[in-house]
């Protein structure tokens, strides 16, 4: 009975791997690696493009609910075919290219952006044995792919020959460069602890259990702080609220893609969401144990369900934050990156190292490491209060 159960669980878990294997095995041996790769790539592109479509509906409905509105509910059941309508609309719209624009670069920019956004998915394990390619330097590859996005953004902003798009591109590039540093530093703490740059290895390290609790890095003080810092940097990296200055519509209208219309605009939109999904997926891989279950008794749920459940949860957090917060100003954004995020991530790096070397039982280690993070943060709060910054004011009244 028990073995049969595990058999079913195993099958459910590996169903996609087995399916792919079945398809590939019918082919001649020479073609097998190529077809296998193509199938994986198509699957990843299809799934995440679909997830992008789904996210747009979720976002609009979620934001609507937070604002006591209904959100889109006209196309299809509960409005879930809205992305199809949006897609058709953007395809049928006129594709405007400004006369002054640099036509070739203007055309290439969305292509580069979306292509670069998709590259990162190659190393993200979406389930047990489900990864397009297991690179030895996987995390490094992810960041390399991410740095290509900046080039696309710049190309879009510059080639449009519009003042607003230039401002937007300047903002976007500055922001993405600045936040790449804390993003990488926050992940280095994980790399250091896991001792590997391979995403598959990192997940495998976290998919172990002490008692019933998994070894997710987010369950450690440095992991938790690192996760928060990583998510803040990821929000900035994917230009999401409250760091959506590059496209801040009340200031510079739409930023670097203001001169794009129709499907090219949709590509930029897709690029933003794909970036958000990719960085969320990396956060899951690094801190939330990838496809692994949080408790050992939940391990029967297929690994890919865990991955996508975590992904959707993080996406909801993005939407939630967007529904609550206004955006920062450019100098504050930079200040946050260099004066808060950078020191905190470096500190977190030290804490991660200390976690490894502080002896003693779990509670002592926990306490020491948590204190190392909380005390500087508390001091920062106190410093701000003494400078009367970021404080509510009391007002006088005239009778």
């Amino acid at each position: 009975m028990a073995s049969m159960n595990t058999g079913i669980v195993e099958q459910a878990d590996q169903i996609f791997v087995v399916l792919k294997g079945a398809v590939v095995s019918h082919l001649p041996t020479i073609l097998q690696p190529l077809v296998s790769a193509i199938i994986s790539v198509i699957a990843v592109v299809a799934v995440f493009a679909g997830l992008f479509a789904l996210t747009t509906v979720f976002e609009r409905k979620g934001l609507g609910r937070m604002q006591n509105r209904l959100g889109p509910n006209r196309v299809g059941p509960f409005g879930f075919f809205q992305p199809a309508a949006d897609g058709i609309k953007s395809l049928t719209k006129e594709d405007l290219v400004p006369r002054a624009a640099d036509k070739i670069v203007h055309f290439l920019a969305p292509v580069v952006l979306v292509a670069a956004s998709f590259l990162g998915y190659a190393v993200l394990p979406v389930g047990r044995n489900m990864v397009v390619t297991n690179l030895d330097a996987g995390v490094l590859y992810f960041f390399a792919a991410g740095s290509m996005v900046e080039l696309g953004v710049f190309m879009a902003g510059w080639s449009s020959h519009s003042k607003y798009s230039l401002l937007g591109a300047m903002r976007a590039v500055a922001q993405m460069i600045s936040y790449e540093v804390p993003l990488v530093l926050a992940s280095i703490s994980v790399i250091m602890t896991a001792g590997s740059l391979s995403t598959v290895d990192i997940v495998a390290k976290q998919a172990q259990y002490t008692g019933t609790i998994a070894h997710w890095y987010v369950f450690t003080p440095w992991g938790f702080a690192g996760f928060i810092l990583f998510m803040i940097a990821a929000t900035a990296e994917s230009n999401r609220c409250p760091f959506d200055l590059p496209e801040g519509e009340s200031e510079i209208i739409a930023g670097y893609f203001i001169e794009y219309s129709g499907f090219k605009f949709a590509l930029f939109f897709a690029g933003e969401y794909l970036g958000m999904l990719a960085t969320s997926a990396l956060a899951i891989t690094l801190f939330l144990g990838g496809w692994s279950a949080p408790f050992s008794f939940l391990a029967w749920v297929p690994s890919w369900i865990w991955f996508f459940a975590k992904l959707l949860t993080l996406i909801f957090c993005f939407i939630w934050v967007r529904g609550t917060l206004p955006r920062l100003r450019m100098d504050q954004l930079m200040g946050l990156a260099w004066k808060f995020m950078l020191p905190m991530t470096i500190l977190n790096l030290f804490v991660a190292a200390a976690w490894r070397f502080v002896p003693g039982g779990l509670p002592v280690r926990w306490f020491v490491c948590a204190a190392m993070l909380v005390i500087p943060f508390a001091l920062l709060s106190r410093g701000l209060r003494s400078e009367k910054k970021l404080q509510t004011r009391t007002y006088r009244f005239a009778e």
Partner: protein, 179 residues
């Protein structure tokens, strides 16, 4: 492998030549980025993952973007600025290029291992090995590089300092900021 190499080599050379030939600085940088990417893929095809990805992060993600940023800040329309291809600095450039080529050629030819390595499979270098090499055998050069970069950073701050204080001084006299 050879086909891939040929494509990448052509791309790299075309990119590099285009970077020199384009009149528009932005186009030149984009062409340069193409050359960088082709080089990075070339590294990857040689199983040098770390170098390849670092090439992209550093050269595409940082160097090209930095140049691009400088262009955005100034935004001088160099497209209208016609200079002769054969100028006086051309000779200097040729001498410099020749010098660089000689040094590189000497280094490549002087490497005893190259003929032996051509047939044997490339040794798989893991990130761990690179890290260990950097931290043990090459620790001193690494530290010196760090010192150099720190010096550059301090230099940049020193250069920017008078500009910054000017800016804040100018700000305080503007009308709206009286308090």
């Amino acid at each position: 492998m050879t086909i891939l190499f040929l494509i990448l080599a052509v791309l790299a050379i075309v990119g590099a030549s285009a970077a020199m030939a384009f009149r528009s600085a932005v186009h030149a940088i984009l062409a340069l980025a193409l050359a960088f990417v082709s080089l990075a893929i070339l590294y990857l095809s040689l199983d040098a993952q770390f170098v390849g990805f670092t090439q992209i992060i550093v050269y595409v993600g940082a160097v090209a973007i930095l140049a691009v940023f400088a262009i955005m800040m100034t935004r001088s329309d160099s497209a209208h600025h016609h200079t002769e291809v054969f100028s006086k600095s051309w000779l200097t450039g040729l001498v410099l290029a020749g010098g660089v080529f000689t040094v590189l050629a000497w280094a490549v030819l002087g490497d005893k291992t190259q003929h032996a390595a051509a047939d044997a499979p490339a040794p798989v270098t893991t990130v761990t090995q690179i890290g260990e090499a950097l931290m043990q055998r090459y620790a001193f050069p690494l530290e010196i590089m760090g010192l150099l970069l720190t010096a550059a950073l301090i230099g940049a701050v020193v250069l920017a300092m008078p500009l910054l204080s000017n800016k804040s001084g100018a700000k305080s006299v503007t009308k709206g900021d009286a308090r």
